[in-house]
């Protein structure tokens, strides 16, 4: 018995000591990122249904580019490659960029954009966790400024298009600019009535410049009610995914809710001022990328505020800026600009919104003294 005990002692002696806690929840960064990607599926599926296979090709291209770019830059930075790829953060960045691009944008748009997002915006700032800006949105802004034509060539919903294209032609047009029958993108963008289609937001904006009222503008074929055909359902798809993320506690409610509130408040205010030139809040929610922005883009943990109060401010400001830029700016959508703008304000917001720590700034007034 004593001998056995000695052996036991010796065995325990060799144990590697580690620090508490010894218990750990079983959900790593990689799992979190994968859940985010799964949550995009309903939105992407609806986008495919309404606007064709383009989005799928873009997503695949972006993800492949993201992995290659990440591996290359990690190799150059002499960092462990496999380890970093496992966290799937590059895949998410690529995916989020791809779902914001026009479905038939040429391949080099998505490749340049993804490389920019992964290499410049993320890795050159120090890699995962160190980037100041949301990689997908920074890349989107870069692309929009550099290639405005390609970045604004949206397709009409399939139901309105003069001709719809299959998977093969989609691949052709993204890679070569022409379908197998020789149609180019501009021809595909023509709707059944012979007019080139725009996104609902663009449509209203153009209409307003022609001195039409909002009411007249949305009285167009691409709208059904006040929402663009397809667009509102795509937004719904992302809303479902976003709610799933909330339920799984991948994201907190603060940013999505405050961002939508910010947009609604700002839009309502403008609407009340003059409802003939400013569309109402509902229009802003269902058209454009407010929902995907609120649940998937602005909630990027690395570049968002990390305190709960800070998140409320961060989200609210993004919502507000989105409406302001949409209304008074010249770009088709404003999520990317608003997010980048607020990314810059994060350190300041975080500093001033620290929660009150237990036992600090408390008044012991109620304690009775006998």
């Amino acid at each position: 018995m004593p001998k056995q005990k000695r052996q036991l002692n010796k065995k325990i002696m060799t144990a590697k000591s580690s620090s508490s806690p010894h218990h750990h929840i079983q959900r790593g960064t990689g799992a979190v990122m994968r859940i985010v990607m799964f949550a995009c599926i309903p939105g992407i599926a609806l986008q495919t249904f309404f606007f064709g296979y383009g989005i799928l090709i873009q997503v695949l291209l972006a993800m492949a580019t993201a992995v290659i770019a990440e591996a290359t830059i990690l190799e150059l930075r002499k960092k462990p490659v496999e380890h970093a790829l496992k966290d799937c953060s590059a895949l998410v960045a690529g995916l989020l960029l791809a779902i914001c691009l026009p479905p038939l944008a040429p391949w080099w748009i998505v490749v340049i954009g993804t490389c920019f997002a992964v290499v410049i915006v993320k890795q050159l700032y120090g890699g995962l966790g160190y980037n100041l800006f949301n990689p997908a949105m920074a890349a989107y802004v870069m692309l929009l400024i550099s290639f405005p034509v390609q970045m604004t060539s949206w397709l009409p919903p399939a139901v309105l298009a003069e001709q719809t294209i299959g998977l093969k032609d989609t691949v052709y047009i993204i890679l070569t600019g022409y379908t197998s029958n020789g149609y180019n993108l501009d021809q595909l963008r023509v709707a059944a009535d012979g007019l080139t289609m725009a996104t609902p937001l663009d449509h209203v904006k153009t209409a307003l410049t022609q001195n039409l009222t909002v009411e007249e503008a949305i009285n167009s074929e691409i709208f059904r009610g006040s929402s663009g055909i397809g667009w509102s359902l795509v937004a719904l798809g992302y809303l479902i995914g976003g709610l799933a993320l909330l339920k799984l506690k991948i994201i907190n409610w603060h940013i999505p809710l405050s961002m939508i509130m910010g947009a609604v408040l700002c839009a309502s205010l403008l609407y009340l001022i003059d409802n003939s030139i400013y569309p109402g809040p509902w229009f802003h929610i269902v058209n454009g990328s407010l929902i995907v922005g609120a649940f998937f883009i602005a909630t990027d943990p690395v570049s968002a505020s990390t305190t709960n109060n800070g998140r409320l401010i961060f989200g609210f400001a993004i919502g507000m800026w989105t409406i302001i830029i949409r209304t008074f700016g010249n770009y088709p959508d404003a999520i990317a600009f608003s997010v980048i703008l607020m990314n810059m304000a994060v350190p300041l917001i975080d500093y001033y919104t620290r929660p009150r720590t237990y036992g600090h700034k408390v008044k012991a007034k109620s304690i009775s003294k006998e």
Binding site: K5, S19, S20, H24, I25, T29, P301, G359, V362
Partner: protein
């Protein structure tokens, strides 16, 4: 500023079982069923007991036993009058075979002076002194008894119980903590189920000592049996209320439990007493009851020995000092179920890995956990923080762990402190939820240790700086004072010079007069000196006459003649020599000296008249005389 609920509001809410909540917290799987199914077992007496002298927060007591002593169970091994010292006791009878530093049951594994007892199996006890009528005893006697029993908080921190109980501030709530929120541990659960009555007695003693307005006994709602037994035990007392607490880690933390029960927050730089609360663990209450009613010092405690690497997880009564290896082998430890040997003392959230199986059970040990290979997830590698703030959502004290991590890692300690690093209770909820598997608490501990070290260094260098600066200031002041003095003197001189001419002339005249006067004086002195030398000569002659060995030639003439003088000197010297020879065999140096002095005086007095040669001769004689005297001295 948030304001706390007052006593009546709290009582109202508690009456309707509405509690408050603390922010954050996590809900790991309890795993208590592994060990809480069976009654607490008694371990056989271990062959050797390793009893560290310090098992609590505070200071060591002084050793009162030595190697070779025979000790009985309950005999104090240490003693002290320091209020923060607690005695430790022999937990069985036997012989002390060693007193040496041994690996301690402490996260650092640092060596602690430990008494090793080889037990004899008789388990003889010392005579216990119960205080059964404690209601009629002065508080000080009870507190002393608690101190002598060596009781420290048994929930984890190990704060000396008698110190906590010597409180004089008014208390609204005496809170008894039976929450035991950490997974796996069921020691308090079993204790409450099996010994609710003793716990109640302990609570009675505390209530008598502290006279709180209300006693709240909090038990987590995942321990229904314990809730029931403790409720039955306490039902006669009107101001005792047993409260079921929703299960959430770390609801059993002192600060969190106070918040849940009363909505109050212990100030960051304060103590629970500052919000009218005092908290004791149920195990401590049991030990207090033992110490007062039975007179038994703290020599054993309930320890949960659990984990899936054990074939019979259970709760045991373990004597303080029992080696961990004994406990886990009693529960059927199977080495093969673990990849690396791994024994955790404490629970999975706040426990620490033991360095050795020899580490003893101490007063604060509530659990030994031996997890099987895949039972607790292995942390592979720390990944970058993605600032998801899952940690902030889990933090029970509303810190921002992601920011603290950032500043701790970059050693930006000033900012880390600004983010309230020292309010972290190290509960581990943040690291538990972290998707990047960052050992956050480890970073905070390192940062805290670094900051403490820096503060020590700073204090030291501050002292040195003050010393240096005060020295510099002193030197400067001295220099200035000197300069000032010089300046004043110079100014005085200048003033004197500047003052009107007549005055100056007077001064010159005065100086001249002074010089003249001096000269005149000198002349008179010379004259008188000559006269004196004459007289001296006469005197010397007279003295010579008195001497029996005198030479008649000396007396012939008074006129100072060269040859005669030499002769006289020689004669004097000779006379002296003779005198010395004649004097007793114990001539003191002093007497020799005084003789010399006499001679010197003679010489000096006559010096003015004597020429050089004579002087030399005299000196030679003197030297000789001296030498002779010295020799004599040496001889003697």
């Amino acid at each position: 500023m948030s304001v706390f609920a007052d006593f009546d509001t709290i009582m109202e809410r508690l009456a309707s079982q509405r509690l408050w909540d603390f922010p954050g917290g996590v809900r790991p799987e309890g795993q208590k069923a592994l060990s809480n199914k069976h009654a607490i077992e008694t371990m056989p007496i271990p062959q050797k007991l390793f009893i560290p002298l310090k098992q609590h927060i505070g200071v060591d007591a002084d050793l009162v036993v030595k190697v070779g002593d025979y000790v009985k169970r309950g005999q104090a091994l240490t003693e002290s009058h320091n209020p923060f010292a607690l005695p430790v006791h022999a937990s069985s009878s036997g012989t002390i075979i060693e007193i040496a530093p041994k690996a301690s049951s402490h996260p650092s594994g640092i060596e602690e002076l430990t008494v090793v007892i080889e037990t004899d199996g008789k388990d003889d006890t010392v005579q216990y002194h119960p205080i059964s009528d404690y209601l009629n005893q002065p508080h000080s006697a009870l507190i002393e008894a608690i101190c002598k029993a060596g009781i420290s908080g048994m929930g984890g921190a190990g704060f000396p119980t008698h110190v906590k109980s010597s409180n004089v501030k008014p208390i609204e709530f005496l809170i008894i903590n039976g929450v035991e929120c950490e997974p796996y541990i069921s020691a308090d659960d079993r204790l409450m189920r099996e010994h609710a009555w003793q716990i109640r007695q302990g609570i009675d003693i505390l209530a008598h000592l502290l006279s709180p307005k209300q006693v709240l006994i909090a038990v987590e709602d995942n321990k229904p049996e314990a809730l029931k037994t403790i409720s039955i035990a306490c039902q006669q007392q009107t101001n005792y209320q047993v409260i079921s607490i929703p299960t959430k880690y770390p609801a059993g933390g002192e600060k969190q439990l106070i918040q849940v029960l009363t909505s109050r927050e212990v100030p960051s730089d304060g103590l629970p007493i500052d919000v009218g609360c005092l908290m004791y663990n149920v195990g401590t209450c049991y030990a207090i009851s033992d110490a007062i009613i039975e007179g038994k010092p703290l020599t054993e405690r309930v320890v949960t020995v659990t984990g899936k690497a054990l074939s019979q997880p259970k709760n045991i009564w373990a004597r303080i000092g029992t080696p961990v290896a004994d406990c886990i082998s009693a529960a059927g430890y199977d080495r093969d179920r673990q990849v690396n040997p791994n024994i955790i003392m404490g629970g999975p959230m706040m426990g620490f890995t033991l360095r050795s199986g020899q580490c003893p059970i101490i007063k604060t040990t509530n659990c030994l956990l031996a997890p099987a290979a895949k039972e607790l997830p292995t942390i592979e590698q720390e990944k970058p923080c993605i600032r998801c703030s899952a940690c902030a959502d889990a933090c029970p004290v509303s810190l921002l762990p992601q920011q603290l991590f950032w500043y701790s890692k970059s050693k930006d300690y000033d900012v880390a402190e600004e983010y309230n690093l020292f309010d972290c209770i190290e509960c581990g909820a943040c690291a538990y939820v972290c998707p990047s598997e960052i050992p956050l608490v480890h970073y905070y501990r390192m940062a805290k240790a670094d900051i403490r070290q820096q503060q020590l260094d700073k204090e030291k260098s501050e002292k040195a700086r003050i010393r240096f600066e005060s020295r510099k200031a002193r030197l400067l002041a001295e220099k200035k004072a000197r300069e000032e003095k010089h300046r004043q003197a110079a100014a005085a001189r200048k003033n004197a010079m500047k003052s009107d001419g007549s005055n100056a002339k007077d001064k010159i005249a005065a100086a001249l007069a002074r010089a003249k006067a001096k000269k005149a004086q000198q002349a008179t002195i010379d004259k008188s000196a000559n006269d004196k030398s004459g007289n001296d000569q006469l005197a010397s002659n007279q003295s010579v006459t008195n001497n029996p060995e005198q030479t008649p030639a000396n007396t012939k003439e008074n006129t100072p003649d060269k040859n005669e003088k030499i002769a006289a000197a020689i004669a004097r010297a000779k006379a002296k020599k003779a005198q010395q020879k004649m004097s007793s065999d114990i001539p003191l140096e002093k007497s020799a000296e005084s003789n010399e002095q006499v001679t010197d005086n003679n010489n000096n007095q006559s010096g003015n008249a004597l020429s050089k040669k004579e002087k030399i001769a005299a000196a030679v004689a003197r030297a000789k005389a001296k030498k002779a005297a010295q020799q004599k001295n040496n001889d003697s």
